[in-house]
Subunit: 220 residues, 2 copies
Amino acid sequence: MSNERIDVTKNIYDENDRIAAETRQVFDQKSVFAVNVMGAPGAGKTSSIIQLINNLPQIRSYVLEGDIESDIDTVKMKSLGIETRQINTYGACHLDAPTVLKAATDLSLAEPGLLFIENIGNLVCPAEFMIGEHIKLLICSVAEGSDKPYKYPLAFEKAQMILLTKIDLKSYVDFDDAFFGKGVQALNKTAAVFEVNARTGDGFAAAARHIEELARRARS
Amino acid sequence: MSNERIDVTKNIYDENDRIAAETRQVFDQKSVFAVNVMGAPGAGKTSSIIQLINNLPQIRSYVLEGDIESDIDTVKMKSLGIETRQINTYGACHLDAPTVLKAATDLSLAEPGLLFIENIGNLVCPAEFMIGEHIKLLICSVAEGSDKPYKYPLAFEKAQMILLTKIDLKSYVDFDDAFFGKGVQALNKTAAVFEVNARTGDGFAAAARHIEELARRARS
């Protein structure tokens, strides 16, 4: 890699981190706990956010939907009465802090609560960019296979919380619990892992309580 | 985006394309038909490559395995007697032409045949970089959902061939065939789509014949 490229890349990360800190301040001032929802395409990010919101009826929730193109998920969120704004990156493979800050100012954030920021479906690049979040929530489906921590370590390393989704498919896809668990443990000793099924809602009550607890700790 | 960043990005693409053309020449000289295998994490890229190779016993096959970390898939390929080299990118979210050219020189390419280059599991970035391939083969699992063409259009647009994998899970995940098909058609009128199941091998005989036909056309 050329020195020129290294310099430009470093500048991009530094500038992003500066604006991420600024964005986080905006959320703190509004008492909004921001969750950066990361995961591969089709991991179940949108369905999981809906389940978490349904399990926290006492808390006001907001959503930013990141997608390269389309507003399919925003339409779904709005149909459920959730205040949501779409971010389309038109090619970019992750959300960055300037984009999130701009979109967040378009949300009311009228009451304290939770903001779910659904990142671009990508198990690689989003983990490299802070976007003003309080925690990173990694969504990983059993259909992706149990070797994902070994192949995509950064996302697993940086997550404060992990949802293992589509557990109803476990027996059909030969998912190896022990191998997956060992891979996660090697990278991350503190993230809580919840097994969930967004079709039935199984597991989301406990996951929702954990987010509420993490938000409480962040305020105190 | 700053002008400095645009210039550097343009230089990266231009330099990549130049080396991709050089890499393609190496493959052509060896009469090796190169397949850039793209897809999200856990889409079934490795299993599909193995099935395709098994269905083409009369053709010599080579594999380059792209992963951020780990050599899990290379170990699997080698255990099946397939000449394979591992590429680890240690962070980079896609393969690029210089990396592939370097790794390819480490393969014997002793006989004419097929080279499967398994890209990093990522439905976004790999589609932007040519790596000397003759065709791009997109692998997409029904577990990812039927909205993928709408959300990740570039990969679907650029593919010469698409495998829809894990079709045994179709009834469990409410996969909408018509919606998926409409999305693919809007982006790509020429790519052949094959429904496959890597657990049973269903569908791979036809897919393998199609690759053989594409390779024959490339030589003539």
